[in-house]
């Protein structure tokens, strides 16, 4: 099993009505690999990672996660979602629950963990994202950076093998981006398999094993960070990098 990839996409396509958001995407992510996905707005980055835990259903191609193929099979989907955690641009914390309840809910409902054990688990991961002191507050009493770290802790409480991040720092004020990225770096260093959509190029350079560049629903270029930043092969990659690094 050692060489089974964590995630394997072959020829994945997805359209919304008549609009093709993904066009035959092939991507293989190895166990423990960190992949950063970037590309212009509307290029299909979100659609791609939302297909991996089936928040969007792909129309064609195959998606295999930890050896389980995604299809209409509900049991397979449950299995995949247990293994895949996701962090959203807009945090999506549950506003009617405290921080600790946010963390403990899914282990209780999905894994059947007892409340005390689930809350202990919650505290463990709140510790890890360095906000144990906020456990009994409600999400709207926290700063954006703290909320996103709670969202990461909440996903980690399911002890997933894969984490998906969809622009986790894009909704944050600049001074809070660092604390969230630091948390993600820690995760990366512990060997978590990660796919991360982000335009934080310094982060990409530091943690990514490979960078995927997408445009118009296709994967245009895949390269290690060194090659990607110093010697991009595709014109569109170069244009994109020029724009983003100018800022």
């Amino acid at each position: 099993m050692a060489d089974t990839p964590a995630i394997e996409l072959t020829g994945v396509s997805k359209s919304f009505g008549g609009f093709q958001a993904l066009l035959g995407v092939d991507l293989t992510v190895a166990e423990g690999e960190r992949v950063v996905v970037c590309g212009p707005s509307g290029s299909g980055k979100s659609t791609l990672i939302r297909c991996i835990n089936r928040l969007e259903e792909h129309d064609a191609g195959r998606i295999v996660v930890e050896g389980v193929e995604l299809s209409d099979d509900v049991d397979a989907l449950d299995e995949v979602r247990r293994e895949v955690g996701m962090v959203f641009q807009s945090f999506n914390l549950f506003p009617h629950l405290t921080v600790l309840q946010n963390c403990a809910l899914a282990p209780m409902r999905v894994r059947g963990t007892k409340r005390a054990a689930a809350e202990a688990l919650g505290m463990k991961y709140l510790d890890k994202v360095q906000i144990p002191g906020e456990a009994h507050k409600f999400p709207d009493q926290l700063s954006g950076g703290q909320q996103q770290r709670v969202a990461i802790a909440r996903a980690l409480c399911m002890e997933p093998r894969i984490m998906l991040f969809d622009e986790p720092t894009s909704a944050l004020d600049p001074e809070m981006i660092g604390e969230v990225l630091d948390t993600m770096v820690t995760l990366a260093e512990e060997g978590m398999t990660m796919i991360c959509v982000t335009h934080e190029m310094a982060f990409a350079r530091r943690v990514a094993d490979r960078i995927v560049f997408m445009a118009d629903g296709e994967v245009v270029e895949i390269a290690d960070p060194e090659t990607f930043f110093t010697n991009p092969q595709n014109d569109r990659t170069r244009t994109f990098l020029d724009q983003i690094l100018k800022q």
């Binding site: 979602r81 247990r82 895949v84 999506n92 506003p95 899914a106 999905v110 409600f138």
Partner: protein, 359 residues
């Protein structure tokens, strides 16, 4: 850094406050004096009528014709009729206890500690069981009192509670069904809601009370009060379903996505994530609907039930108390007010609790 400003002037001095707020211009002063006088006059009249010039006891009822004030003797003389309707006189204690049981059950279900998928249903099953046992009797040596004889405040409170308790889960089911991705389910919910809403409540209650016995076989008819309550609950549910649906629609789509991504199944997403937020979003409209429903219970008079409004009418309908209708309406009005005001205050408490409002 912002510079600290001097604190705003406080109203430490009543005269200064009055000058600033009530008498700042000529016109202000005039309006203040005019409305002040009007208010004092109105309050004085009400106190005169209701307290100072009033006759209080039944024994003194002959003085009623002589005085200008209220004749509260009518409440003493006819109070039991108002509160118990046609319920047999010797069994009034049962109606009282039954009414208290329902009110206590309502009170308990207002306490967040009781909001559980097991606790709340258990509480209401117990509450209704005690109510029916006491009101209907037939065991423990209690003589049977048929539902046609139920009346007054107990009946009002019972109909209200039953309509809400049966209607609420039904409303949740209809609201969820209407959002279902399966066209058959959403279609059926849609038809039910729109059909029921397009009919007047009176027509629905008439159908349940009068028409059903003609078309349904005897064994399936059930009691008239049960049929009417169920029909009323369906009517309530169709309105409340739309209120809940509005609450569901106000939830950002990311909430359900986050729950799905965590692996939570449909029912868990519904009960743990969607419904708590939907109820919170729709709290003001829901309280509104409760208040409307409480007052609408008086419509069952028309199909022959003596709830409190009808028994109030009956109390002054004939005989010696015909001219005391104002006193009786004030009395009945005060009872309605107590319930509706209690509901409103509870709604305000819930909003504070949900931190929807500040203050």
């Amino acid at each position: 850094m912002a510079v600290a400003l001097a604190p705003p002037a406080t109203d430490d001095n009543l005269m200064a406050w009055a000058r600033r707020r009530l008498f700042s211009t000529w016109l202000d002063g005039l309006i203040t004096v005019a409305f002040g006088a009007l208010m004092i006059w109105a309050v004085a009249r009400i106190v005169d009528w209701g307290v100072l010039d009033a006759v209080w006891t039944v024994a003194e009822k002959d003085r009623c014709r002589e005085v200008d004030g209220a004749c509260w003797s009518v409440i003493g003389a006819r109070g039991r009729l108002i509160l118990f309707g046609l319920y047999p006189h010797d069994e009034h204690w049962r109606s009282t206890l039954a009414c208290i049981a329902i009110i206590l059950t309502m009170g308990f279900s207002c306490i967040p500690k009781f909001w559980g998928l097991r606790r709340l249903p258990a509480l209401w099953v117990a509450g209704f069981a005690i109510f029916i046992l006491l009101m209907y009797g037939g065991i423990l040596g209690l003589p049977v009192v048929r539902t046609e004889q139920w009346g007054g405040l107990s009946l009002t409170v019972f109909i209200f509670a039953a309509v809400v308790v049966i209607g609420m889960p039904l409303a949740v089911v209809l609201a969820l069904a209407r959002r279902s991705p399966l066209p058959v389910i959403s279609g059926v919910a849609n038809v039910i809601i729109n059909f029921v809403r397009s009919l007047p409540l009176l027509a629905i209650l008439f159908t349940a009370a009068v028409v059903v016995p003609f078309v349904v076989p005897d064994w399936a008819q059930g009691d008239k009060l049960v049929r009417v309550t169920l029909a009323f609950a369906l009517f309530f549910a169709c309105y409340q379903a739309e209120i809940i649906r509005a609450g569901l629609q106000a939830i950002p789509s990311g909430q359900e996505e986050a729950a799905s991504a965590l692996g939570m199944k449909y029912w868990s997403r519904v009960f743990d994530i969607m419904l708590p937020q939907a109820f919170r979003n729709s709290l003001p409209s829901t309280i509104n609907q409760f208040v409307i429903t409480f007052k609408e219970t008086s419509i069952v008079t028309i199909i022959g039930f003596f709830e409190i409004m009808a028994s109030g009418n009956a109390a002054v309908g004939t005989g010696e108390w015909v001219s005391q209708f104002v006193e009786v309406y004030v009395f009945v009005g005060a009872i309605y007010f107590a319930f509706v005001f209690g509901l409103s205050r509870y709604g305000a408490y819930l909003e504070r609790r949900a931190r929807l409002t500040h203050g």
